[in-house]
Symmetry: C4
Subunit: 384 residues, 4 copies
């Protein structure tokens, strides 16, 4: 059944719930604003509800203006006002606020002026995770990507000049000039293929087939370069994200630096908001967790146990039959380090001292669970 | 010739033959149901054979209802009825059964009500292998994928606003409103390129070319991220699938944990149904097998030899001239661990004790084959 | 300049020149046959030169028939006639010969019967290198690829049912029936986008945008899976291709098995036909060569030196300033093992005994070159 | 905010500023020439400003002729005139100069003759970095790529023959002949999808759907192969680029060859022009730098410190809290080796002698900064 297959996803859904309320409001305002702007360009809607749409847009603008002002103010208090304004984030905020009023002041008709509100969509990029990562991939692979672009340009120009010669007599309106021929070449090389301009002669079609195949080859190279770059960047980013947290977990501090490096490559950092279930009893488990910051509660009988920074949990399933034995949830926002089963096995195999420590703790816990259950059954309560 | 090249595929075709009869019936019912539903929307067919199509659809529905009822019953007996209903598999089953009767009860005309039968296609996902894997890739790479989507949205909005300004006077019906301009942008950014809405001004075409190239860049990033994520997930999944089987093979138990981890990464788990040929004499062989569960029969002269759990076979070809020396087939459904030639060499090089054990067994077998042949030729039969 | 950049390609162009004459003839016949077949479907050409085209096609057919007969004969002499006929190669050969005569015998008009000649194109696959590799990728990744296909089918069916409901009143001819709606969904999901069927309502366009984005996501997964599978298969294939050659080079035989495994992963096997330049003096060199089979000639002054199996060359450039010091070409068809600079450095660093051996040989050669030059200048000739 | 995320990009933007003035002029001439050529094909512009456009084109031609002559002259002085002319770079230069005059001399009308000026676009490839890299990927993966092309051809031919049979009666003009059917197959297999030729029968559409899915499968394989090939080539290229620089840094020379090889794989070579900021105080830093050639200035109080070849900088942020403590900029064009945080940690863990050396230097610098500050505060100036 799908159930078993998907249950492990459950352990990873936590990041989706970490959406702050303020951010939600911003995205709501953004969505409403963009929809109002789009609606304003529809003549029917403008006639029917133009006033209300304008009002809505002004409200959104005011919201963004207030947000921007607060941002600048906060930066000013830290003495970084200029730095903030010149940063990408600051520029995005200014772009969201000023163009529309300036355009209106210049006498642009409102329906055109409000089109500048489409710049609001840049707000999405402001706090979006991973943008820097994508940027770095493009920068690190700049040389080969530039080569692919050059290849693209060369094929583009030669193909359109050749097509112009071949088809200009047959279709003067479509291939009569080089610029229109270039348009065909771009549409074909990117495999978009609108079909508004299509070769009709046999030679033109042969040339067209060649251009399409070149397009796919170029595209494949492009994707291959980005895939390679992204794989390297992903590994690097994961290490950096994990490293500073790993070094704070006491459990790892007894290890030599080489082992810590190895572990850092294996762990994945996950931020979990408060009161979120991390592990559910009875589910199939394929990872264990280290607590880098925060606290979790394990609901063992009769009283739940709390684990704080530096502790680990979820190892019982990995050492036993893969079935989770207890519910675990966070009591406050926590940073967890996830260790997958495959890496857990490798780690245990390479570092016997770690294996012994985890094993000992697991034995202690199993004994503890056993004793607690017995006490619970006999009505007594353990002192610790 | 192609023959030699493809012969090694033969060793891997086994998984395709493991299709249970019950599952086959379900897929047949599914195919018939979907085809009947599609046929019902054709006016001619509806007029000619509407009654029969309706009957066919009701039969399929009843089949799925019975299947669902049995599924719930089975879960109820294990005391997991609710858990089953709330799982993805349970929801899919309910979606397959209820929407059509409910729609009919609400008075929807039958040809519309039966369209809900398209939900039956979800049944395909129920037992499809690897769905969890794909899901995990999306979840683990959620951050960069979200960034790419945001990039997509930003380009989409800015491009359509710009295009609206550039082309609205030239083509009021196509780019006159922002929503229609957005439609063009989506069609172009995904390189679908219907061609129903196409820029005609020089500036519009330049902008269009830019959007197409952005589309390809975004798409390349998207593919790169998924490729990276999938590679990591594949490695992890293979380890987990193999690990619990490896630890049961006695042959590996003498190894230290570090070596077991190394081997687990090299092995690939394959389920083979009963009476299936695994190795064919005279073919080129590039892997050896360990039996994790089940039994195989090696047809050496004069009496076949049976190998059970923990045994291995196929190593003679790897140690010799790559030609298989005997047919091997399963006698019951078996779980085999496949070790490719490249990994076999690496393993032999790193673990001399393993190399010696496999070598000794291979020598023993070669001697055995030799002795058996001689006995066979001289009419005698070996006692063992 | 581009010159320097491309010069190293030169070392790799050899495989392209290894095209046997017989194979060239076959491909020529194939090309002529396919073109004649295509020409026969053009009414004008058929009227003008039908007889000649028919004759040409019969000639091609006879050629393939002779080839097939020879192939069967050769197999029969080895007692493998049936095995040959049932192999992929044999089936392809039969498909090339029989369908056309059978169709003609059945009374099909010649222009339709000759269309079966398009099966001749399968001949391309017969000796094409790497087909087995691609096949293995699909087989090994069968599970996740099947999941992607299932995902594709689910989106396809649900999208077309939804689109049918949304657009059937607006465009009865395009979305009036589910099959025609399915056609739209396929064209859109694969991002082909003919544009013959396009949603026109706002809701339909929103749905269409969703389908396009799903299409790209599915496609990205598909590509990611194939990329991952291919990377694994490539590494494996390279090891297998190289291994049996490496073990025959005496130079490596002194190494322990672990080192041989390491080296095997680094080397790349290249087949070079006779009288082909492998190294050109003055070019930038970034690899060295080991001779697994065959012989090369190094044209040092005054008399060229011949190197046979087990020898190596090209190491002077790697140890020195990267400029090739002499021309090297094969005297007969040879199998070379290429070691790239990066791997050369790693190898030298890890295996000091190898480093010493290569270094000693390089010193000896440099001294030899020096001595020969001096002797040449003084008119004397060295005894060796 | 985005600011923090993007700030580290800053360290990588240097390569973009390294554009020589001469090269800029060439690209300017190239752009003007190509635009003039395109303008010449527009009847309106030709009528209005044909003379001026012709003049512009002649100027560009003369510029390229002079460039070519200078190139040949420079090569001749090195005695490599023929080698230069026969190199790719030389051929490109000749193609840029001769075709137009020859065409004009042959009596071709000027607007057609000038189309040969589109060959100028090849000039882009002349000095473009990474072209050799892309070429090598295609050459090294030639076998599997050829297989994909063969697969493409087979599907193409069989699909178009089948489509011809299925649709020739329905649409004689579109599918009546095999060549036109081939055109449809190419457009569909590459997922270009013009829509000028579209199947209309049910069987034709089913076949078309199959062809589209085959197209995506083929394309995925193609991309996968290129991605794999590029990853290997990237790693190799990086090693070669870095190796000769690493061996010149005195700091690494005390290490054993195995460690040097390891480090070489970790470092990335970056060329920085003179007077360029490498590190900005207060930014988040995630890498350190080794100076392979050139000189940098660290602006510590009261007098800046200059670091020359073999020195390193930026390690304080990695050892401390990741915040850069000083501005660093180059005083002349320099070659730097970048070591990312992840690799820095790994290196420190594996090579304790390196860790100690870097740590000692960091301590010395911190003490130095402290002492300098104190002296500055007390008005004294340190003698060194």
């Amino acid at each position: 059944m799908l159930k078993g297959a998907f249950s492990s996803l459950d352990d990873y859904s936590a990041p989706f719930r970490r959406f702050g309320a303020l951010r939600l409001v911003r995205y709501l305002v953004l969505a409403i604003g963009l929809m109002a702007m789009a609606a304003l360009t529809e003549p029917n809607l403008r006639a029917a509800a133009g006033l209300w749409l304008n009002l809505l847009l002004w409200c959104c603008l005011v919201y963004f203006a207030v947000e921007t002002a607060m941002g600048i103010n906060a930066a000013r208090r830290q003495g970084k006002a200029w730095q903030h304004l010149l940063s990408l984030s600051g520029i995005v905020e200014l772009f969201a606020v000023f163009p529309v009023p300036i355009a209106l002041a210049c006498g642009t008709p409102p329906e055109t002026a409000w089109l500048f509100a489409s710049l609001w969509v840049l707000k999405l990029a402001q706090n979006s995770p991973g943008f820097a990562q994508l940027g770095r991939v493009f920068v690190l692979e700049a040389k080969p990507l530039a080569s692919v672009l050059v290849l693209f340009l060369i094929v583009l120009f030669l193909a359109s000049a050749a097509m112009h010669v071949v088809e200009r007599n047959e279709q003067p309106s479509a291939f009569g000039t080089l610029p229109s021929s270039l348009w065909w070449a771009v549409v074909t090389l990117t495999t978009t293929g609108y079909g508004d301009v299509v070769p009709r002669t046999a030679l033109g079609r042969l040339l067209g087939a060649g251009v399409m195949i070149c397009g796919i080859a170029t595209f494949g190279l492009w994707t291959g370069i980005l895939a390679t770059g992204f794989a390297a960047e992903r590994r690097r980013r994961n290490f950096i994200e994990t490293w500073d947290v790993v070094s704070k977990v006491p459990f790892f501090q007894s290890l030599d630096p080489s082992a810590i490096t190895e572990i850092t490559h294996m762990l994945r950092r996950v931020e979990v908001p408060e009161r979120t279930a991390v592990i559910r009893r009875g589910r199939v488990g394929d990872c264990m967790y280290f607590i880098a910051a925060g606290e979790v509660e394990v609901d063992v009988m009769p009283t739940p146990v709390r684990l704080g920074e530096g502790a680990f949990f979820g190892e019982l399933a990995l050492l036993g039959d893969m079935i989770r034995t207890a519910n675990v949830s966070t009591t406050k926002a926590s940073t967890l380090l996830v260790l997958d089963l495959a890496d857990f096995r490798t780690l245990m195999a390479h570092h016997s001292e770690l294996a012994r420590a985890i094993d000992a703790e697991a034995q202690r816990r199993l004994g503890d669970i056993q004793r607690r259950r017995e006490l619970h059954l006999h009505g007594g309560i353990a002192p610790a």
